[in-house]
């Protein structure tokens, strides 16, 4: 479990092209599109499933940041 807490959801905005795939397939409604870029609106709800990272075509969102 300790490993899990290290896997914080992170965003690299300069890589995001705003396609919205991560927002659509996030099971916990953690993400939103703001000014054509992804933004984290509710980090507490994140269950670190990695569905966003798996389908992000631009490598802009991932687990494992600090």
């Amino acid at each position: 479990m300790s490993n899990k807490t290290l896997q914080k959801l992170s965003v690299e905005k300069e890589r995001c092209k705003g396609c919205g795939i991560c927002v659509e397939f996030c099971p916990k409604n953690v993400l939103e599109i703001k000014n054509n870029k992804v933004a984290i609106k509710n980090l507490d709800a994140c269950i670190q499933c990695g569905q966003c990272e798996l389908r992000c075509p631009d490598y802009a969102i991932y687990l494992g940041g600090k």
Partner: protein, 269 residues
């Protein structure tokens, strides 16, 4: 701290990549890298070969031994590389136009020889880079810039083609089910022989717009709803099979591998 996977295996100075917003190619590229990472292969043990097209840009973003070759000829170059250095894991990244049209002959002969190469086809049903011309995998009736009234050609089933030509591992996955791509590329690399992984990608810019399929999210949802595993598909009644995308491992066979056979002859002297 940036993504470890991307940091380790990508040429990050060339990111963000050139692909359009919502293009599925980035998802497949990451899946291939993840598969290599899962297998624990070092970057020097892997050679990525690509042809020409949107998909084939991938080799430029990846930090392995990479070669960006001519249109349709990725498999021909890869055959040479595998011969010269049989210890390399050679992975070919190619598009539907690249591998099924201009490179069609290279595909069938690489499969016939059963050379130990893993070919990953990014099938987005259209020629994206050159402006949306219809490709051999554009479904009959769908539109492209060169088929404004609908394509009258029958579309290729690439997996059937590879299987019939002699590939020993054939599978298909969609970019929605990216975990499946990771698993299949792993299995493809492990298979000693020609492995063919068809990935159903999305092109919202050309294929999606020309055929009113909506944006990237709509196209992903379409894949989610219409992809059916082979086991489930075989049980479906005929009337429910229409327009379904059959995914999963479609064929696994056993045949002598080409480079091994060649080396046997050399050793016999």
């Amino acid at each position: 701290m940036p993504s470890q996977l991307v940091d380790k295996y990508f040429r990050t100075e060339s990111l963000p990549h050139i692909w359009c917003p919502g293009c599925g190619n980035g998802i497949v590229t990451r899946s291939i890298v993840k598969a290599i990472d899962n297998l624990g292969l070092s970057q020097d043990e892997v050679c990525i070969v690509s042809g020409i097209g949107c998909s084939s840009r991938a080799s430029g973003y990846l930090d392995f031994n990479t070669i960006h070759t001519t249109h349709g000829r990725a498999l021909a170059f890869a055959t040479g590389i595998k011969f010269a250095n049989p210890d390399l894991h050679v992975i070919v990244i190619t598009g539907d136009g690249d591998c099924a049209a201009i490179g069609g002959n290279h595909l069938i002969h690489a499969a016939r020889r059963n050379i130990d190469i893993t070919a990953v086809v990014f099938n987005n049903n259209i020629y994206g880079m050159t402006g949306g011309q219809y490709s051999p995998t554009t479904p009959t009736g769908d539109k492209g810039t060169t088929a404004p009234y609908g394509n009258i050609d029958a579309n290729f089933d690439l997996c059937e083609l590879a299987k019939a030509a002699g590939a020993t591992y054939v599978s298909r996955a969609t970019v929605y089910g990216a975990n499946m791509i990771i698993k299949q590329v792993e299995d493809g690399i492990k298979n000693k022989g020609f492995s063919f992984v068809e990935t159903i990608s999305i092109c919202p810019t050309y294929y999606g717009r020309k055929n009113k399929k909506g944006d990237a999210v709509d196209m992903m949802n379409y894949l989610k709803e219409n992809a059916v595993n082979k086991v489930a598909y075989d049980k479906l009644p005929e009337e429910k099979r229409k327009n379904k995308i059959v995914v999963g491992e479609l064929f696994k066979g056993q045949k002598p591998e080409y480079v091994e056979q060649y080396n046997k002859i050399i050793e016999s002297f």
